[in-house]
């Protein structure tokens, strides 16, 4: 049955989209910063995984850890040095700043790695899962499970840890959190670091699925935007729901209307949702 296959494709794709968008959503929701760097962070994570596999034989699934650490440090430093200075300015200012930083990072990657396409070709790929007529690629499924696990990890971090609760407090009311003794600037830097960490980890997972090149960063950024608006800003479950919704929509819609319309379809839905439910499927009013 072709619809079961399309459903499976959509769910796998959706899990990956959730990981692409989770960090972006967190940064947007908490800091009110539209982080244009997010796509380049993902690509940088992919490169870290690629080089670790090529030169050290480290499996990209394990490269999540070093990619996450490097990106966390980079994100933390960028927030501390640059973005904290303007974080309370209108959103256009921070957008312009991250746009500029993205130009620097993306062009630095073009110089360092060139625009040539690279791809991790695993020596021993996982076998595909065959359930009747439904065919699920093993590595893609494993990457999706890890992506969902990471997203869940972020969700627990926000709910269960002191840092997480401080992040949520800053998201709800910056001034009140500050009065309660939360070091807002420090929390900002940690939040941005976690956003970058999620991007780096997602990039490591994606390195086995998509070709790697600095010029793919805008494609990832576009997906993150749509997922965030679909699911609701600043909400981790929202990223998961938005990711799954977009994955299923592209899969089923792409089949029903032809693959050339799948992108049009997702952006049409985005527009529609902005009209009827601007807070997203799971977003709460006042967070956006």
């Amino acid at each position: 049955m072709i619809y079961l296959q399309l459903l499976a494709n959509g769910i796998v794709l959706g899990g990956l989209y959730a990981a692409i968008a989770a960090g972006f959503s967190l940064v947007w929701g908490v800091l009110n910063v539209i982080n244009i760097l997010h796509g380049s962070f993902i690509v940088l994570g992919s490169y870290i995984a690629f080089f670790l596999y090529a030169y050290a034989g480290l499996h990209p699934f394990l490269a999540i850890v070093p990619a996450g650490i490097v990106l966390f440090a980079l994100g933390w430093a960028l927030q501390t040095v640059f973005i904290n200075r303007v974080v309370t300015a209108p959103v256009l200012i921070t957008l312009t700043l991250t746009f500029g930083l993205d130009l620097v990072l993306n062009n630095a990657m073009l110089v360092a790695f060139t625009a040539d396409y690279r791809k991790v070709n695993l020596a021993t790929p996982l076998p595909a899962l065959e359930l009747g007529s439904v065919f699920i690629p093993g590595d893609k499924l494993a990457a999706m499970v890890l992506a969902v696990a990471l997203t869940y990890g972020l969700y627990r971090l926000l709910g269960d840890s002191n840092v997480g609760r401080a992040i949520v407090a800053v998201r709800m009311d910056r001034e009140a959190a500050s009065l309660m003794g939360v070091e807002v600037k420090q929390i900002n830097a940690i939040t941005f670091g976690i956003g970058a960490l999620m991007a780096g980890a997602a990039g490591a997972l994606l390195s086995i699925i998509y070709p790697i090149s600095p010029i793919n960063s805008t494609l990832f950024l576009g997906k993150a935007f749509v997922v965030c608006v679909l699911g609701g800003l600043g909400s981790v479950p929202g990223a998961l729901v938005g990711g799954l919704a977009l994955g299923l929509l592209e899969s089923l819609g792409g089949y029903a209307l032809g693959p050339e319309h799948s992108v049009t379809l997702s952006f049409s839905l985005l527009l529609l949702l902005l009209f009827v439910r601007p807070s997203g499927l799971l977003g709460r009013r006042g967070y956006e």
């Binding site: 072709i2 296959q5 399309l6 494709n9 794709l13 062009n107 073009l110 625009a115 040539d116 396409y117 690279r118 791809k119 070709n121 595909a128 065959e130 065919f135 690629p137 590595d139 893609k140 699925i209 998509y210 070709p211 090149s213 010029i215 793919n216 494609l219 576009g222 592209e250 899969s251 089923l252 819609g253 792409g254 089949y255 032809g258 693959p259 050339e260 319309h261 799948s262 992108v263 049009t264």
Partner: protein
């Protein structure tokens, strides 16, 4: 202190130093060398930058070769070549603006075209308006030549000259009857896919799927699921390197295993084989030129072997068809200038239209539309990570594997 009056002598010295700061052109003419200025707007950054850089490498190699030999002789003068490159960042409207700027502000006499059929078609209205010849290395879609423009020339033969030999080579396997086509919804990739549909039908094959995907799509699983349901013997995918690597990988992921896979335009570039790894094996394709062809020419390089040697000396790798095609575009301007014995753009245009000459790239002769009609494009297949030429017979290196 007395103010020194500006004498005629100090004034001319000031003029001289001003001239020196303005640019290299004045200096060159002061030494008696004239310069022919050629403009090239290319996608040097952005999604099409791999292709744009290839064209820049080809154009530059030709310019270096000409200048190393002293320049182009015409009308009793010797002209050095200067190419002015502008980056249009993979943004077609900017390619058009850049072309206009090159003609009106930089005063170039000739244009080397931007990348691909789409941008070339868009820019071709500009050089036509100013009557400046444009030579295009990567444009083959009929839509460009239907315009009946006089100042556009292309070094790629019409699309059917590429699909016909490939369809012929595949159809040698009589068990291949069902073709699935997945095409990038873009001028060249879609046009060549439609041409392949005709070539396959002419050989009695059934086209069981013809789908197009949007530019910028990373995930092809919906289309490939549909492809698997259609159960094709042969898959023809069109697009550029990024698209085709993703498409090939996702075909393997979803268990689509046809007897033959052909793709264009990616397998001709070494980056495709590197990125697709073992999945590139047995992917067939066609190109307009291949480093293993052997021609002797009247151009600045003299022969394919000499061109290959010059290429490897400068870039430490082998040229692909876009790179060779770009170099021959420069050579065509040079042959046109020499034949016209002038650098006047209109006279050179007429001389290029009448060319019938051997080059390292093959015979160069243009049809009335400005498109080259004297090439026999090779078919090749990736075997062991390397392209192996299947046809035409004169340069055949191996048999098609299924």
């Amino acid at each position: 202190m007395l103010r020194k009056p500006v004498t005629r002598r100090t004034f001319s010295a000031m003029l001289g130093s001003f001239g020196a700061t303005v640019g290299s052109v004045g200096q060159l003419s002061a030494q008696g060398a004239d310069v022919v200025k050629i403009g090239a707007a290319l996608p040097l950054t952005g999604p099409l930058s791999p292709e744009g850089i290839k064209q820049q490498r080809g154009y530059s190699l030709w310019a270096d070769a000409v200048n190393a030999k002293g320049g182009i002789k015409a009308g009793g003068k010797t002209y050095k070549v200067e190419i002015i490159f502008v980056d249009y960042a993979s943004n077609t409207p900017r390619a058009v603006q850049s072309t206009e700027r090159l003609i009106t502000q930089d005063n170039v006499s000739f244009i080397l075209a931007p990348f691909g059929s789409g941008a070339t078609k868009a820019a071709s209205s500009v050089n036509e308006k100013y009557e400046i010849p444009m030579i295009a290395p990567s444009a083959s879609a009929t839509e460009i030549f239907d315009q009946k423009y006089k100042y556009i020339f292309s070094t790629l033969t019409p699309n059917n000259s590429v699909t016909e030999p490939l369809a012929e080579a595949i159809s040698q396997n009589k068990s291949i009857k069902r073709l699935a086509i997945l095409a990038r919804n873009d001028l060249f990739p879609l046009a060549i896919a439609q041409e392949m549909e005709k070539s396959a039908k002419a050989r009695g094959m059934e086209v069981v799927m013809f789908e197009r995907y949007a530019i910028g799509v990373l995930d092809h699983s919906a289309a490939i699921t549909q492809m698997r349901a259609a159960n094709p013997d042969w898959v023809y995918g069109t697009g550029y390197i990024n698209d085709l690597v993703a498409m090939r990988k996702q075909m393997a992921d979803l268990g689509v295993k046809p007897k033959a896979i052909s793709m264009i335009a990616g397998p001709a570039y070494k980056e495709f084989a590197q990125a697709a790894g073992p999945l590139a094996e047995n992917v067939s394709s066609s190109a307009w030129w291949h480093p293993t062809v052997r021609y002797n020419g009247k151009d600045v390089f003299g022969s394919t072997e000499a061109f290959n040697a010059a290429w490897t000396a400068k870039y430490k790798d082998d040229a692909d068809y876009i790179e060779a095609s770009s170099a021959v575009c420069g050579a065509i301007i040079q042959l046109g200038i020499e034949a016209a014995n002038s650098v006047d753009p209109k006279k050179v245009r007429d001389a290029i239209a009448k060319l019938d000459v051997e080059t390292f790239y093959g015979k160069v002769r243009f049809g009335d539309s400005g498109q080259i009609n004297s090439l026999e494009p090779p078919v090749f297949q990736l075997q062991g990570g390397k392209p192996v030429v299947i046809s035409p017979k004169v340069i055949k290196q191996g048999e098609m594997k299924f």
